[in-house]
């Protein structure tokens, strides 16, 4: 994807927990905060529901970056320990990305509570800037000359 100036515009898929981060994105909107339009937000019931398969699928379907976002540990999780599971899974998932030659910056696991709209805006801004530096992922997933 690129904008009218031909500059690369990264696509970011976000899996956001219904109880915290999704509410934070709402709050960012109702508070009239502005942030780049590069994110596609998918609401999930809990970060513990996010299977690493979802992230892999997003990369395979053309995402340049993926964010999984949930409630602050230790005690915010609506389901007690969904965020614990997410943390451990994605800690391991990073090893997969490393071996498969995909930059760590393309994946973020973030804890963003319902009140942290500004944190949400900051995360999106940072990631867009980082991905613009890295460039698109897709050409790397194809066999090159």
């Amino acid at each position: 994807m690129s904008d009218s100036k031909g500059e690369f515009e990264p696509k970011i898929v976000v899996y956001a927990c219904n109880w915290c981060t999704y509410a934070a994105t709402d709050l960012a909107g109702t508070s009239r905060m502005s942030y780049p339009p590069n994110v596609r937000i998918i609401r999930v019931m809990c970060s513990g529901r996010v299977d690493p398969q979802f992230v892999l699928q997003a990369f395979a379907d053309g995402a340049d970056g993926v964010i999984v976002a949930g409630c602050h540990p230790p005690a915010d999780c609506h389901y007690i320990e969904g965020n614990y599971k997410a943390y451990r899974r994605f800690e391991l998932f990073r090893k997969l990305l490393e071996t498969m030659g995909i930059e760590q910056e393309r994946f973020r696991l973030e804890w963003i509570s319902a009140a942290e709209a500004s944190r949400w805006v900051q995360v999106v801004n940072e990631m867009v800037a980082q991905l613009k530096k890295l460039g698109p992922l897709k050409p790397n997933l194809e066999v090159r000359e």
Partner: protein, 343 residues
């Protein structure tokens, strides 16, 4: 006389274990010969590509294809078989998901060629000769030249369904004779399962048929992951509960848990269950969830995961080529295989 179903059997980058599994049908083999006509089988019969080309389209009832797609030659052959066959079956882990040779997708083909022909300690190759596509051989005593050809490998190994449409899958490395037999029964009964189905095996995870299942706790929780190099599994106790990376929970059953009967963890050769799109992704999900630490214990979590240096070879042992990423990012086309050389 040929009212029998016509069966073709072809191998790509296979090791021959699939053929052996077929021979291991033993006396049931004779029943197979009674029930079907084998019309093409390059390892066993003098049928050749031209013979297949001459067959009317769709005239082969079932083509069983084993091995991953490693050469252009394989690609051409399976496309031809697709055209001539009503049903195409990916037989065995390599054909279904790339299998162990699919681990080659972690490296550039050039790196693999360099390792084999230039770097290993036995090699003596000062002129850096590598296999070449076209070789012109001088034969001085007959005052003539002859041409030889070698096929070029594809940059990455592909599972069958990335090259052609596949109707069914028979899982396993190799499929056990019983699984193959079940699949044959299912296919020859005329009562075909829905397209894309995995036939002959179970629809439940391996734990379901594992003799150690009753020793598996309700909720498996471990503090470390063990490797069998320096640890000995206690007999008759769920290997997962002991901390070994047993793939049972995320693997399709059907083999009767043979490896576990051998007191070794399941390595996942029967592949994914229905509804799973990426075996390794699912395995990460599982192993991440059974590690018994809270996120504030970051050090312990890191240490537990670091205890296994090769996660990829563990969780994608048979299915890297079919995974969502399918190969390491940034793989390049090979440059080491030259077009022509004269000797």
């Amino acid at each position: 006389m040929s009212e029998k179903p016509k069966v073709a059997w072809y191998w790509c980058a296979s090791c021959g274990g699939c053929e052996e599994s077929f021979v291991d049908l033993a006396e049931r083999l004779l029943k197979v010969f009674e029930a079907v006509d084998i019309v093409f089988c390059p390892v066993a019969m003098d049928f050749k590509r031209e013979d297949v080309e001459k067959l009317p389209d769709g005239s082969i009832t079932v083509a069983l294809i084993n091995g991953g797609i490693r050469l252009k030659e394989h690609e051409e052959m399976v496309k031809l078989l697709r055209k001539k066959s009503k049903i195409v079956i990916a037989y065995g882990a390599c054909s279904a998901w790339g299998g162990i040779p699919g681990l080659a997708n972690l490296y550039n083909l050039d790196e693999a060629l360099e390792r084999k022909y230039l770097e290993v300690p036995t090699i003596e190759n000062p002129k850096e000769v590598l296999p070449t596509k076209k070789i012109i051989v001088n034969i001085p005593e007959a005052k003539m030249k002859a041409e030889l050809e070698l096929p070029e490998p594809l940059p990455v190994l592909l599972p069958l369904d990335k090259v052609i449409d596949v109707d069914y899958y028979i899982p396993g490395c190799p499929p056990t004779p019983d699984v193959f037999w079940n699949a044959l029964q299912a296919l020859l009964s005329g009562n075909l399962p829905p397209k894309g189905a995995i036939v002959g095996a179970s629809n439940r995870s391996l734990c379901d048929e594992c003799s150690l299942n009753e020793t598996k706790p309700e909720k498996v929780l471990v503090k470390e992951f063990k490797r069998p190099d320096k640890a000995k599994p206690e007999p008759n106790k769920c290997l997962l509960a002991q901390g070994f990376l047993c793939m049972g929970p995320v693997t399709r059953g059907g083999c009767t848990a043979l490896c576990i009967k051998g007191n070794m963890p399941c390595t996942g050769c029967f592949g994914l269950l229905d509804g799973i799109v990426d075996y390794g992704g699912k395995a990460i999900s599982y192993f991440g969830s059974i590690l018994d630490y809270s996120p504030v214990e970051e050090k312990e979590i890191k240490k537990a995961f670091d205890g296994i240096p090769d996660w990829i070879g563990t969780i994608y042992r048979y299915s890297l080529a079919a995974s969502k990423l399918s190969h390491k990012a940034g793989i390049k086309k090979p440059k080491r295989i030259k077009e022509v050389v004269e000797i």
